[in-house]
Point group: C2
Chain length 206, copies 2
DNA sequence: TAGATTGTTAATCGATTAACAATC
DNA sequence: TAGATTGTTAATCGATTAACAATC
């Protein structure tokens, strides 16, 4: 079966499985059961099996899952097996942190362009990527076939940047600015606002 | 009624409402309906009403919600109306970004201590907060009544830092390191792993 | 074979949405 | 009063968990 209709909750768990599987692989563990996975990730094994079964039969009854094979399969599902170019706007601390994230890995998803509006930032390098003026966004997106945009500018600038990304033809936006932004339906938007994260935490502590 | 059993989904939406209400307040808008809120936040108005109604009757039939009053109430619910001290370990780019987040606001939730293990970092200041050696964590947590810990160290260090936080008596941890960490049941743990965020994004674009 | 573990169906649980009486 | 909008109950929808036949 292809993909019936996969919920976002499922998709968000796959990278968590992937991370632990990669850890197992590094430790030369070749096989793992949903029970093992569930114990380590503190999740229900039935849920793990069901999540994986949406995409195919990856395990073997009585045995479990082959770690290396499952890693390959999850990467395939998440489309992490093909090149995916990312542009980041806002070369502040958060932007720099994100740029450094996958700098040394051989992930296929890569931040290939960084933009800022601050003249002092232009021309400096973050890793191997030179910071460009925001005016060059559209041109670079086309030239480098950029599909995803990350927004790490202040709230006041964020919607404007999003508009420019949409205009440039970007397909998905990961927004870190604390605003509710508007994008057309054909653009996928994900918010990762760290202030709301922090605020909801207070409820469980205070 | 007090709080029957509020789901995390509800708690995570409250800061989003709060943010937009504060925006309305800045624009001198005094009243808002759940319909308005729903339209701007792209949410179902019934859900917004229900979320709020868990905590009391904050609106007026036929009128809507008083913006200022609702802001005060949501802050009260989230316990953002009382002082909440936060310690951050890992004074890298991400740590610095988070430290700067609420530096200029008059939020009651504040990062009051920053730690790092890198000798060169010790003694430098982020905003007004001096970076301390990690060895001083326990002492500072006690002295400053720190309740929440934020972990922005590399994956290899994260569990060790979490253990120290738990040992020091911290009540909640916000973890940005890409690992599945273990904490005792009495400590609230929230993961905000930006790599998994990025990876799940690929699914919707590729 | 006996034990283990998957894939999947059915049962449960919880969250979202619709609808509407109450009332400003 | 008529129109608007809440708070809340009931209906729907979706996600999680349990259970088990299939099978390695």
């Amino acid at each position: 079966m292809k993909t019936p209709k996969i919920s976002e909750a499922v998709i968000r768990r796959l990278p968590v499985y992937l991370r632990y599987l990669q850890h197992l692989h590094e430790m030369n563990i070749t096989t793992v059961s949903s029970l093992d996975l569930g114990q380590h990730l503190e999740m229900n094994p039935a849920q793990i099996r069901k999540d994986l079964a949406y995409f195919g039969e990856f395990g073997r009854k009585g045995i479990g899952y082959d770690v290396e094979y499952l890693i390959a399969k999850i990467k395939q599902i998440l489309k992490l097996d093909r090149r995916l170019n990312v542009a980041l706007v806002g070369a502040g601390n958060l932007g720099t942190a994100l740029s450094n994230y996958n700098r040394y890995t051989n992930e296929k998803m890569k931040i290939v362009a960084i933009f800022d509006s601050f003249p002092e930032k232009i021309g400096t390098k973050i890793g191997t990527v030179k910071v460009q003026p925001i005016q060059e966004l559209a041109k670079t997106v086309k030239e480098q076939d950029v599909k995803i945009g990350i927004i790490t500018v202040p709230a006041t600038e964020a919607q404007k940047v999003a508009d420019q990304m949409v205009e440039a033809g970007i397909k998905g936006i990961l927004n870190f600015a604390p605003i509710t932004m508007r994008v057309p339906n054909h653009v996928y938007l994900r918010n990762a606002d760290l202030t709301t994260e922090l605020q909801s935490l207070a409820y469980y502590i205070g």
